[in-house]
Point group: C2
Chain length 294, copies 2
């Protein structure tokens, strides 16, 4: 059986980590071709063993590929796919790792010809660092990797991607597309906006600048994801727009619950706000921890 | 030289950790008396070696104390001090660990008689777990411990508390009271409210409940402090009320910056929002890390 040829477009944290995992577990059964516009990234990907071959020529990189992982910020995906279409072989499977699925499903279904398959995916993992040097072979291990069959073009292609993803050690699951985009908004997108907002809040108090060194573990953890890649997050906001703005309005309303409670001196209301958050989070973390053991 | 007698009122995370640190480094030079209304907490404090003696009788616990650490939620402090005043010896020093300083300074200055000193303090440390079993001997080590001389009754008492706090390994610093309360609001109080709000946001989407198991490290870290003690945080909100509500309104306005950016499809504005958060946070973390090394 000939080796599977996997092209990875965009050798950042996710693309680089996929390459490391494929090479680590796939061994001789897989050939990884890394594609990136940045020459130094390509060189580091080779040095780190994340790819077998590297190129900044999209046509060259994808022409023999069985599977193409699209690992750029979301808004770059459609233009890149348009560019590569003439060079793809019949039967090639495109799959992406973007955090917003409806946008891509709609745009891609409009341009993909027969014989080119698409599998919609989203790994629930990350780090606040980005780039090839932040990539880790175990980034996906025991983490959820969501596939959206509803937005994918055929079930055989979904099966094929599922097989390949087993090399990453991820826990595969499936979701409906609307549920995915709403769920991603409230458990990931809105927390990213909130974390960045908490950091930007500091800029309104320049007189206190010298005191910000006092930040403890609470601020550090709450804002960790505010150190993420700005390009990636700008694209996510614009491609899950309505869902994110609706959820941000709901978050503002929840903050208002505390503002009103404080103004009225209503200790019971404020206590209830913190208490139900604690109860819900403790239960959620216990549940995800028990899943992690299984 | 006779041993210093330190009473700790409220043997939770902070009170318990102070006891552990005092006994660990102070040894024979310190006698720690633990005071709590909960019998099981008192027993655990003895078992863990956080206190030499324990009692639920406030008068009994404080009557020989040279120093009394007030480690209950903020709103309980003034009533407790009122109760203990008749039993304190002349020259006793009261000090608290509350997160809001103006409220306490005002209330305590109105009731403290001559001969009883007060030192206003705030350790910048914590864990999301609470209670005596969460206490740690090193909770304060290399963490900032703020003293507010402006809100304290005499400089000798501040010196005395500073000496005792050296046993904890904390890094002592001083702040003006207004700067403290504003700074604490934006680096600690508002992040706690935001973290709880992000958790409470989930309750608005009951249909997605089964999918919340997908939460990754981002949600987990961003909301870690939402698992904190609700009583403690309700009291903080009510005793730093105006500063917290003003800062929450500013946070809402920052969220609005993103909402408007998304509505207008203004990628540059959204990118700038994430980018400046990343730049500021990375610089802040690098600065606090370099402080930590010193």
């Amino acid at each position: 059986m000939r080796a599977k040829r996997i092209a990875i477009v965009g050798l950042g944290l996710i693309g680089g980590s996929l390459g490391l995992a494929f090479k680590n577990m796939g061994g001789e059964k897989v050939i990884v071709i890394g594609i990136d516009h940045d020459q130094s990234t390509l060189q580091k990907a080779i040095e780190r063993g994340a790819v077998d071959h590297s190129t900044n020529d999209l046509a060259e990189g994808v022409k023999y590929a069985d599977i193409i992982f699209l690992c750029t910020p979301v808004l770059q995906i459609v233009p890149i796919v348009e560019k590569m279409l003439p060079y793809l072989k019949v039967g090639a499977i495109l799959t992406d790792v973007g955090s917003t699925k409806s946008f891509l499903a709609e745009k891609l279904s409009a341009i993909l010809p027969a014989g080119i398959h698409y599998v919609s995916g989203h790994p629930m993992t990350g780090r606040e660092q980005s780039g090839i040097m932040a990539a880790e072979v175990d980034l996906f291990r025991d983490k959820w990797y969501i596939l959206v069959p509803e937005a994918s073009t055929c079930s055989e292609a979904v099966d094929e991607i599922s097989q390949v993803l087993k090399w990453t050690g991820a826990r595969l699951t499936t979701m409906d597309i609307a549920a995915h985009d709403q769920c991603a908004a409230i458990i990931s997108h809105v927390p990213h906006v909130a974390a960045a907002a908490l950091v930007n809040l500091l800029e309104l108090y320049p007189d206190l600048e010298d005191n910000f060194k006092l930040v403890g573990g609470g601020f550090r953890d709450t804002t960790r994801i505010a150190s993420s890649n700005a390009d990636m997050w700008a694209d996510i906001c614009l491609t899950n727009a309505q869902t994110i703005t609706d959820s941000l309005l709901n978050l503002q309303a929840l903050l208002d619950e505390v503002i009103q409670g404080i103004k009225k001196g209503d200790r019971q209301a404020i206590h209830y706000f913190f208490k139900r958050a604690k109860v819900r989070r403790d239960a959620l973390i216990a549940k995800t921890d028990s899943h992690a053991i299984v």
